[in-house]
Symmetry: C2
Amino acid sequence: MKKKVSLKDIAERVGVSITLVSYVLNNRFKDRINKEVAQKIRTTAEKLNYRPNHIAKSLKTNKTFTLGLVVADIANPFFSSLARIIEDEAEKYNYTVIFGSSDESAERSRKLINIFMDHQVDGLIIAPAENDESIIETLRKTKMPFVLIDRYFPDMDVSYVVVNNFEATFHGINHLIEQGYTRIGMIGFKTRLVNLKERKAGYKAALKKGGLTFNKNWLKEVQVDDPGIGEVENAIHDLLSLPEPVDAIFFASNKVSTTGLKYINTLSVNIPGDLAILTFDESDATEIFYSRLSHIRQPLSEMGTEAVKILFENISNTKKITQRVLQAELVIGKSTPVVK
Amino acid sequence: MKKKVSLKDIAERVGVSITLVSYVLNNRFKDRINKEVAQKIRTTAEKLNYRPNHIAKSLKTNKTFTLGLVVADIANPFFSSLARIIEDEAEKYNYTVIFGSSDESAERSRKLINIFMDHQVDGLIIAPAENDESIIETLRKTKMPFVLIDRYFPDMDVSYVVVNNFEATFHGINHLIEQGYTRIGMIGFKTRLVNLKERKAGYKAALKKGGLTFNKNWLKEVQVDDPGIGEVENAIHDLLSLPEPVDAIFFASNKVSTTGLKYINTLSVNIPGDLAILTFDESDATEIFYSRLSHIRQPLSEMGTEAVKILFENISNTKKITQRVLQAELVIGKSTPVVK
DNA sequence: TTAATTTGTTTAAACGTTTAAACAAATTGG
DNA sequence: CCAATTTGTTTAAACGTTTAAACAAATTAA
């Protein structure tokens, strides 16, 4: 097929100026423009199958109707579900989403953010990685609107949407204690990411409040990035091999819970008889693992829509900072029954 | 912070023409250009924190270094894993990916493809929906390079990367028969999508070859798009309530297997004692379901890299059509033991 | 009847790049 | 020493839009 048709082609065909064609197709000055000419322009545009060149438009208007999404890993169901919600929400504003996975690396984050800015996105939604403070800080000094999601930096004055990790975990662990568990292990992450640190803090606080003294052998921390073959497996093994093995395990995210559960499947451990399970995040695992798992459910849908909403407020109103902490909810399944 | 810096700003600062700045920063004519001037340009670019305006560049060069990815649903782990692979692969070519979910609707497919083309993407990777023939056919007549993935249209002369659905399923069902199962149910889809029809055909062919006469009560077909609340659950219920219940179920995709397994969990059916399970696609469920599931594994990584490779061949060489059928592999787990 | 206004359309510049072509100055060749 | 070449740089047009401003013709007002 032939060349792409431009306003010029239509203009020539109809015998008018490019400007007029532009006005008609953008419905501007409709009270001024001759109805018949307008109609003719419209029909030839249709006939020639005209599609506006978004790039040219963007160059002039400085709006690309594109937004950049930086997540840790789009293959992680947590982020892909979020991505889907963001996609749908963005579509309502006629926006398209370009995405990238940082793999929890600050270097990759920076690279992605730069690339997206080079592409002149109108805004960014970012799940920042561990050492992204400086990147985000530079971004803040820029006129580029953005919202952090899932993770944030406590005393940085930027928009974000996160959940109440501390309280949610606190409640979760508290639930375990109330059910009668007394040796509660946790598999978390070796990281400075606040959302994950809050989960750790919530765990410890709940133990304390429940009158259980924290035993450092109960807390296992793995790498956030590069999974580390067998790290989770070893952690579980260790927790179960203690002189007094744990009677419950709290998985701090879907990532560890998924690998963890796979491993537990290979052991002859009876859930929840021998071991109770509580996990942060919902996933297929939550329902498929043979006893329905008790878990802490993040309001994904709300997170996504809020993030987009805040971003667009930021895009139009500029520099309005909104920080939202949503409530994660404890869903009690069958993996944490009352201890007999 | 201030305005974005452009080539013009650098040019003015250094006291040279915009052209020269462009040449230097793009490393063109390096043998001609005065080393010191070049250096000065580079350092001021650095100092001003110059970032090229990709949009302006694209307008001139007609390349956006962006590609569009259309999947059924980015939240489906099958597609998000694929997306991740495509992302990584595209990055090697310095490409960014914009994505959209069609929800198996032709109308949405068309819309997404149009949007992506308006954004002047350099190419498209598309998992087409059920009635996308005409859209793809129009696309074919265009100069836009594209590759279909996962699904294709048998006698359309376009590039694609798919798997051998028929044979893979045939082998899978054959395995069940060899293990001694004689009443094998299938939960598939009510659809015209070839990849799924091939799975059905493979199922039937294997039954026939195995000397089992196909019983139409064994085959349940659900909607591909709009899941239909309880459809899968009812199907399973029916299969197990037959006068002679099935002794094995083949799930035709991760989508049905995930919901199916969740439901089976709520029943008092013993897997694999009462019921063997075979599923197409790998997912967390495959390993987490308490007996490791036998399944048919699609070579996701190969699919993604091949698709990108073919797309880029198409982008540079133009109109070279490549059709790749990759081999899906039967992974024998513990859900399909020999019948005693 | 002429000035002011309205109507319908065009001109021209701009957005930030790329790139072919032009050009002046310096260098080389014969 | 002059012509030809090389070196280093600039001019100008272009990509496909948008948009302020200009404009000519028709209409209205006084």
